[in-house]
């Protein structure tokens, strides 16, 4: 093990500490111009850093960094492979869009100013970046707590009894989840004396204890990620948070939990779980797809439709566990990326609807006002990717997943992916039908004027949605990067 070049070290340091320092500065120096500009400059800079790191990784393969030069088991390691890199990119892109969007959209009360929102989100960003590269079980626990506290606070800043109730519900799920996770970590340490993921990978310690510890950690992560049976907190929390926060929570925070489930199952615990456990995790994912989609079809509020859609879309990521092939691995990374972009675009667009019409009832979309048209376009583009219609990132991800299912002879998962796509199309088109509908003639509602949308609020979701579509054309071009550092159980 040698240290990577100093510039790579510096790049990772910037990714981990940049948002944190920027958040503190923004909080301590609340000049309006600086407060708006600093996070945007930061996110643009971090995207440049990511571009450089991706180029370096193409040459060297996955990067392992040791803090202070001490490698595991003595020191604490960070590990960056394709999946982590994809999540870092997603965080960077969504972060840039949100940073631009909140310059116009977040105007909270005097008691809780916009710099409060920003510091919460910037600390959350640091925690997420660190979570994606963490390679140590206890570090993961600490970072999970940090991200949970900031995420819950981002729900509670909406004020009002509904928001506080949703945040409290979220808090108790997150609290129970982290305790189960910590118990799992303690059991792993009791059995092996190790916490570093890389050390655990090379250790032979199969047995009921490892499956039990994995089960506890998975349960804990599932509660934080709102995977199907323990999802009850997600729709209300994501629907009631400020829309910029909803975009972050749905596109990034919930996904981080599933990301860790996949990391644990395919990394240090690979081969510990019997085949049927992988199948049952995917069955839970499929149940989540069905339940989330059907609930999404039944909602009458735009943000609730999008929030239930998150419950459904996270389910796809679990399909990689039974499939375990290169194609499935690529498909899942692609699905995570394109879902993140599309979901953030949808939530920001929903925020724009609330800004323009004052609420997010689906009937409000059919105002027949041309100012809503551009926003409806954003929702249509993001919806196309979400439903997996070609050409879009969602299509490529689902296509690879279907192919992986057919190749491995598990045709039922191909049916799940296809059926999930149809259900997604149902709720996306239901929203669009409202957006396209003529306003009802004897509506009775006084036609309040639709507010004009500032460009700073229109373009971030538009570009995210276009990005989700553009991923559909970049599949072949991104394959070399996706192939960096596959877990051991996925052969080439």
């Amino acid at each position: 093990m040698t240290d990577p070049p100093p510039l790579v070290m510096a790049g990772h340091t910037a990714l981990l500490l940049g948002p944190l320092i920027c958040g503190l500065l923004v909080y301590l120096l609340p000049w309006p111009r600086f407060r708006d500009a600093a996070p945007i400059v930061l996110s643009a800079g971090l995207l440049v850093v990511l571009w450089y790191l991706s180029g370096e990784m193409l040459g060297t393969g996955p990067v392992t960094l040791a803090l202070g030069g001490h490698f595991a088991p003595l020191g604490i390691e960070l590990h960056v492979d394709a999946l982590a890199l994809a999540m870092l990119w997603l965080t960077g892109l969504v972060g840039l869009a949100v940073n631009v969007h909140i310059t116009a959209s977040v105007n909270l009360t005097e008691r809780f100013g916009p710099e409060g929102f920003r510091i919460l989100w910037l600390v959350l960003w640091s925690a997420l970046n660190a979570l994606f590269v963490a390679a140590d079980l206890f570090n993961i626990y600490v970072l999970l707590e940090l991200s949970a506290i900031t995420a819950i606070a981002l729900v509670a800043v909406s004020r009002g009894p509904e928001a506080v109730a949703a945040a409290t519900r979220y808090l108790f799920f997150a609290l129970a989840g982290s305790l189960f996770f910590l118990l799992g970590v303690a059991l792993v340490y009791a059995k092996t004396g190790l916490l570093a993921l890389r050390g655990l990978e090379s250790l032979q310690w199969h047995g009921p204890a490892s499956v039990f510890a994995l089960g506890l950690m998975t349960l804990g992560l599932a509660m934080k990620a709102a995977l199907f049976p323990v999802h009850a907190w997600l729709p209300r929390a994501h629907a009631i948070a400020p829309s910029a926060a909803s975009a972050l929570l749905s596109a990034l925070v919930a996904k981080a939990g599933v990301y860790l489930v996949i990391r644990l199952w395919s990394g240090p615990f690979d081969g510990h779980w019997p085949e049927f456990l992988g199948q049952s995790m995917a069955v839970l994912g499929a149940a989540g797809i069905a339940y989330g989609s059907i609930q999404a079809i039944r909602q009458s509020r735009l943000k609730l439709v999008i929030a239930y859609s998150t419950v459904a879309q996270l389910g796809y990521l679990l399909l990689v566990l039974p499939l375990a092939s290169v194609l499935a691995w690529h498909g899942v990374i692609y699905h995570a990326l394109s879902h993140g972009l599309a979901k953030a675009a949808l939530f920001l667009a929903a925020g724009n609807v609330i800004f323009m019409v004052g609420n997010d009832r689906l009937e409000s979309l059919s105002r027949g006002d041309h100012r809503l048209a551009g926003n409806a376009m954003v929702m249509a583009l993001a919806g196309v990717s979400l439903a997996g219609l070609p050409p879009s990132g969602g299509f490529i991800g689902k296509w690879w997943l279907i192919n992986a299912a057919l190749e491995s002879g598990q045709w039922w998962w191909a049916l799940v992916v296809g059926g999930g796509g149809l259900l997604t199309a149902a709720y996306v088109f239901r929203v669009l039908r409202y957006a396209m509908a003529e306003p009802h003639p004897d509506d009775g509602r006084p036609d309040l004027p639709v507010k004009r949308l500032p460009r700073r609020m229109f373009w971030p979701p538009m570009l995210l949605a276009l990005g989700a579509i553009a991923l559909g054309f970049a599949g072949q071009w991104l394959v070399p990067i996706l192939a960096l550092g596959r877990p051991g159980n996925i052969a080439g």
Binding site: F138, V142, E145, I149, I152, A153, A156, S158, G160, P161, E162, V164, A165, A167, T168, R169, L171, F172, L175, A176, S178, L179, L182, L183, V185, A186, Y189, A190, G193, L195, A232, P235, R236, A239, I240, P242, S243, Q299, S300, R301, L302, K303, L304, A350, I354, G358, N359, D360
Partner: protein
């Protein structure tokens, strides 16, 4: 080493009690206390792990985990108490309403 077994069993029992307090009760303060008992059980378990006999010095890693865990637990408890108090000011209730279905009608910031 035999002294370890009753301690570990106590940790397990405490975890179960805490879990019951967290799931079985509806009052939010009760639930928070349950979570605290669960956390203490895990800390006890970790401290038990760190013993390596009477002669040898203890394993420092679990002790470091316990220290960090206690700090986190205090923070989360304070944050949760703040939220619970805020909820009480807002709604006058100190438990969450059971049905999630009824409230689905009201979602966003209007």
């Amino acid at each position: 080493m035999t002294a370890v077994v009753p301690l570990a069993a106590t940790a397990g029992l405490l975890f179960a009690i805490g879990l019951y307090g967290m799931i079985g009760r509806t009052g939010l303060i009760h639930r928070l206390l349950g979570a605290n008992i669960m956390a203490s059980a895990i800390f006890l378990f970790l401290v038990v792990l760190s013993t390596r006999g009477i002669e040898a010095s203890a394993d420092p890693v679990p002790q470091a985990m316990v220290l960090t865990g206690i700090v986190i637990s205090v923070c989360i408890t304070a944050f949760a108490l703040g939220l619970i108090r805020y909820l009480r000011v807002m709604t006058g209730e100190d438990e969450l309403r059971r049905s999630t279905r009824d409230a689905d009608g009201q979602s966003a910031d209007d």
